[in-house]
């Protein structure tokens, strides 16, 4: 636990954290793109691509699904290396032990995610693809959470005694707001998981797949309403409470975009939903399989979903920070924890 007198930690972890998050977001995109284009099984082997050790596979001269899938593998390796760099920089210049551990957890996460992706290929198992698709955004959210934690602002906010500092007087962060932020993040992530089921279950060949898909679709719609409500509420509270306004406002904008993308995704895959057909009547609309535009839209829906989760996590961390989460001295911690979890 750093006190105010601790020397400022190195800035490198923060830079690496940014680099990692910036590499992970395209990685999430690209992963979604692999699914959208059905490129997951471009190779049947892993750690090698068609028998060639991954880093030396002639990626730029490959085409189609092999280009897409190998690109995902390379980007995954990049994320892995950035995580290693982050952990190294943390151990060199970060005095807070829990942050170092956070880094190690990230490293474990990135390795697990890689192995999961590899197993999905080696075993050619839809269920693993689904899980891999759920844990990817989780890692992204965790990587994004590293950014505020290693930031200067985080440390600046750690001076609660300084009552005159602007953040202390104007911030309206309350345990209630923290609770809302956590709830939003959890709901958004749950929505992501259900979305992954909606996406992958049609390609499962088990007897229960139709049932799973149908339930997941209804659940996804229900959660969409819940997430939208919570995100808007959170944005509203943050904005008027002057707590991390930028991420909160971005969240509000993203949720609008996400709803649009969701409707488009359905249309790109299955045409007009049944109930909408009654209003629009006969249309000559038809989809084109393997169409780039539709693959991009479908992928964007998943990627924006992960961004929403990540931003909600960032908001939660920063709100938590502002209500003095790491200052057990200021109030009995059990009270605060009870306040957050109640």
């Amino acid at each position: 636990m750093p006190s105010a007198s601790t020397p400022l930690p190195s800035r490198w972890p923060h830079r690496w954290a940014w680099a990692l998050a910036c590499a992970t977001f395209p990685l999430v995109w690209w992963g979604g793109f692999v699914t959208a284009t059905g490129s997951g099984m471009a190779f049947k082997d892993w750690l090698t691509s068609d028998g060639v050790f991954m880093p030396i596979y002639p990626w730029l001269s490959s085409t189609g699904d092999k280009f897409i899938e190998h690109g995902h593998r390379l980007l995954g390796m990049l994320a892995g290396m950035l995580t290693i760099a982050l952990v190294v920089s943390l151990y060199l210049g970060e005095p807070r032990r829990w942050v170092r551990r956070y880094g190690v957890a990230l490293l474990i996460g990135v390795i697990a995610q890689g192995v999961l992706g590899g197993m999905r290929v080696v075993l050619d198992e839809r269920l693993l693809a689904l899980i891999h698709g759920c844990t990817g955004p989780l890692f992204f959210a965790a990587a994004a959470g590293m950014i505020p934690v290693t930031s200067r602002r985080w440390l600046a906010e750690s001076t609660p005694a300084d009552e005159s500092s602007p953040s202390a007087t104007t911030s309206m962060a309350t345990p209630k707001l923290l609770r809302l932020a956590i709830l939003t993040a959890v709901l958004a992530y749950l929505q992501l998981v259900v979305g992954a089921v909606v996406r992958h279950s049609p390609l499962m060949l088990t007897e229960g797949a139709p049932r799973i898909f149908q339930i997941a679709v209804y659940f996804h719609l229900l959660l969409a309403a819940a997430v939208t409500f919570h995100v808007l509420l959170l944005a509203h509270k943050c904005f008027w409470g002057r707590v991390c306004r930028t991420p909160a406002l971005s969240l509000a904008l993203l949720i609008g975009l996400q709803l649009l993308l969701g409707v488009s995704t359905w249309m790109m895959k299955y045409g007009f939903p049944q109930w909408a057909a009654r209003f629009v009547g006969e249309t000559g609309h038809f989809n084109r399989a393997d169409d780039l535009a539709s693959a991009v839209i479908v992928t964007a829906h998943g990627a924006v979903g992960s961004l929403i989760v990540a931003l909600a996590v960032v908001v939660a961390l920063r709100v938590g920070r502002q209500i003095g989460f790491p200052h057990p001295a200021s109030r009995p911690s059990s009270v605060r924890i009870a306040g957050v979890l109640a």
Partner: protein, 492 residues
């Protein structure tokens, strides 16, 4: 092997967890919180790996399922069902390894390309195309019951009846390869059936071969079930002289002649015959193509007056009783005429459901009857035996009847939108009007077979086509020459 790997994985995870726990003393709140999360992240990873391994263990190789409607309505016993499945497997293989019988004329190479799990080989050739592009809608059996089907309108096509809507052949004929290729390339606009025009030609060829394969397999299944129902079944055992064999108590001995064409040459012949019967229409499809008479085809360079004249004639026919289009497509072409009919795919399910409901009613009345007889002190053995048999049948039918998705009416197209699912070329519409749309209530008004006489002449059909193409631009309030028979119903 996999189990051992799982065991090792769990051991490693447990060790890591312990390590983290050991280093967990004298910590502050955030410290503890972070550790907690890091511990949970490990646990989460472990749980993930476990779930994954469980999932791998459980996913069996996909296989074809028998058509429950066909099996139950033909009262095929479980033993015979297994034998029918065996025969089908011997003739057609499995979803992973389809087999093109030489007699079927299917192309083994194309089938292999289309079947199996989706992946791409070292040359970059995509394999498992059906499972990559189609299975989520059309299902592994080609029964149109893929996971997404419930939410689609119209439902994806069930290939197993071998009936296709958008083709250039006469109504009862099969589609040609070119027809299926056109559907795959264009999709079916206005439905969820996508266009596959971005696939390579060989991929589309492989897919259409696989559609035919599933179709032929489905038709074969139905015919085999009918054969088993008609010809086989538990019967009294007979000796060489045709006399019933009796057991010690003098009751006839029952036997079940197995359905096994591999060992029974007679059955082998029958199966071959059935296959020929199923295959023949497919092989003759190219002789069944509708060819409009050369001299009847309207020129491209007609004057507006000529077109107007043709449209007026077509209009007369459309609302006249000879072509009868308005009875379904409505007095204004909005598709608001007769809307309560079904296509053949719905009809099959509806008939099954209705028969099941009837059986249920009959069981209730039988129960009452038995109770009445019992009160009167009469013998009810015979009635009770029949009731038990009916109840057993109902128990088989009910789950099947409940498994259907909601049955929908076949709604005539709104012709004012200018949306044509089978293609917008004049020739496409000519084929639709001439042959009707197979499987749906829409009847053909042209010749029913090569050389036959149709309700409308070639020229009249072209007039109707001109009118249909003109309908979207015609004001809906134009007075109609003839009032439709059900105009009062429509008004209400």
């Amino acid at each position: 092997m996999r189990r051992r790997a799982a065991g090792r994985l769990i051991a490693v995870v447990a060790e890591a967890t312990q390590y983290i726990q050991r280093h967990q003393n004298n910590s502050t709140i955030p410290d503890r919180a972070m550790k907690l999360t890091s511990r949970y992240s490990v646990l989460f990873t472990a749980a993930t790996a476990l779930v994954a391994l469980v999932g791998c263990e459980q996913a069996p190789a996909p296989r074809f399922h028998l058509n429950p409607v066909v099996m139950v309505s033909n009262e095929i016993s479980p033993e015979y069902q297994q034998e029918v499945a065996n025969v089908l497997a011997a003739m057609f293989g499995t979803p992973d390894a389809p087999y093109a019988l030489p007699e079927s004329g299917l192309n083994q190479q194309r089938l292999t390309l289309a079947a199996g799990a989706a992946w791409s080989d070292k040359q970059g050739v995509d394999r498992g195309l059906y499972r990559k592009h189609c299975v989520h809608c059309h299902g592994i059996n080609g029964d149109g019951r893929g996971p997404t089907a419930r939410f689609l309108n119209p439902y994806p096509r069930d290939y197993r009846q071998g009936v296709f809507k958008f083709k250039t052949t006469f109504n009862p004929a099969k589609p040609t390869d070119a027809d299926l290729r056109r559907v795959l390339n264009n999709g079916v606009p206005g439905t969820s059936m996508p266009s596959f025009s971005l696939l390579t030609e060989s991929e589309v060829d492989a897919l259409l071969e696989y559609v035919k394969y599933l179709s032929i397999r489905g038709e074969m299944e139905t015919k085999l079930a009918q054969y088993v129902y008609d010809e086989l079944g538990e019967a009294e055992k007979e000796d060489e002289n045709g006399n019933p064999v009796l057991d010690e108590d003098g009751n006839p001995v029952m036997e079940r002649p197995p359905f096994d064409p591999a060992t029974n040459p007679e059955q082998g012949e029958v199966v071959k015959e059935i296959l020929t019967e199923v295959m023949a229409p497919w092989q003759e499809a190219s002789d069944q193509v509708i060819v409009p008479a050369e001299d009847g085809i309207p020129e491209d360079n007609r004057t507006p007056e000529e077109i107007g004249e043709s449209v007026a004639k077509g209009r007369e026919l459309f609302y006249g009783t000879k072509a009868n289009c308005f009875t379904c497509h409505g007095p204004t072409g909005l598709g608001d005429g007769q809307q309560n009919d079904y296509d053949i795919w719905s009809k099959e399910q509806k008939a099954f459901q209705d028969a099941t409901a009837q059986l249920q009613e009959s069981i209730v009345s039988q129960q009452k009857e038995i109770a009445r007889l019992g009160r009167e002190g009469k013998e009810t053995d015979e009635e009770e035996a029949k009731l038990a048999a009916d109840e057993a049948t109902l128990a088989l039918r009910q789950p099947v009847a409940h498994s259907f998705y909601p049955i929908r009416n076949a709604i005539p197209r709104n012709l004012r939108k200018g949306v044509y699912r089978g293609g917008r070329r004049r020739l496409d519409l000519y084929c639709r009007v001439s042959a009707g749309i197979a499987g749906t209530p829409m009847p053909g008004v042209g010749a029913a077979a090569p050389g036959a006489q149709g309700t409308l002449s070639d020229e009249e059909i072209w007039n109707v086509v001109d009118y249909v193409l003109n309908l979207p631009y015609e004001p809906a309030s134009n007075p109609q020459p003839a009032l439709p028979w059900n105009s009062d119903q429509i008004a209400n």
